[in-house]
Symmetry: C2
């Protein structure tokens, strides 16, 4: 499991409340690791019980229930331990491929529209990532190790989406060529 470790990393970058973390997991971090607020609250409770993080009421005079979490030494130690632990290579796992197999065995079922829909979703993400790259990672900003690694992470997302865009075109070509038995 590594939601806990993703949260530790995130909290090291900036001490936050569960709510803030949930919003960040819907944006930047969440581009690469998604989690719902329920998962996050549950995990924060566990991490506090484990002594990895500590919370205090937000400095708003008790106006809200907001709690700020920060990483303790034990949490940092755990993150370091986990980061060097061997992990399995991620499996490719995609519903569209199952659908393609179903198409192959049952005969043409008309997957083209769904693949085109995926294509536009991936293209939209590509545009978003490219905008972030232009805004935050111009060459003059890549002066620190941290910035270069964050740029690498963004490029991972770019490559992933580019891969799916290319794949979508290839898949559409195969489906369409096959509709025309001469191909």
């Amino acid at each position: 499991m590594s939601l806990a470790h993703a949260l530790l990393t995130s909290l090291l970058e900036k001490s936050s409340s569960g709510y803030d973390l949930a919003r960040r997991f819907d944006k930047s971090i969440g581009f690469f690791w998604h989690a719902t607020h329920q998962q996050i609250y549950r995990e924060l409770a566990r991490m506090e019980a484990a002594g990895w993080i500590a919370s205090k009421a937000a400095p708003d005079g008790g106006k809200t229930r907001k709690r700020l979490y920060s990483v303790l030494a034990a949490g940092k130690k755990e993150l370091r331990r986990w980061a060097l632990e061997p992990s399995p290579a991620p499996d490719l796992r995609d519903e569209l491929i199952v659908r393609l197999r179903a198409d192959a065995v049952m005969g043409p079922i008309g997957l083209e529209a769904e693949i085109e829909r995926h294509l536009s979703m991936h293209e939209a993400k590509l545009l978003a990532y490219r905008a972030i790259e232009q805004r935050d990672f111009s060459p003059d900003k890549l002066t620190t190790r941290e910035a270069r690694i964050q740029h690498l992470i963004l490029r991972t997302g770019l490559g992933y989406e580019e891969g799916w865009v290319a794949w979508s075109h290839e898949a559409l070509a195969v489906l369409r060529e096959s509709d025309n038995p001469a191909g």
Copy 2:
């Protein structure tokens, strides 16, 4: 959920026992959709209860407990329905990226060895896929729509592994260049 639909597809290709399915999910199909035998048995029981598949004792005179499953009309209908259902684009979700972020925020922790380990795992899969491509998808065998789709699916795996191989080299370059502050 789509393990049920992956199993339906698999059973349409060939009626099988749970055990056989589990082995196939460790090989060809499992390259793209992994499942343990416990998941498969549980799911087969549900699918039979739902009337999507039927089972009969294997024709071995009751020597073994083996049961052969086959897809019923309702199962085929369900697979067709599901295959055209809109689905979300798959998220990128990789532990190594969380580890990289941890490295970025905590300072160099020595991820290079782990990335090299992943690199060899992906290279091994690449070799395996290329062997399958040479064996099963020579141009003279790509005469049917089904074969062309199956080839596309294999190429998806090839592209995925190639992507991770390229990524690993890039990540190693970033980590090593950053170890040398002049870079």
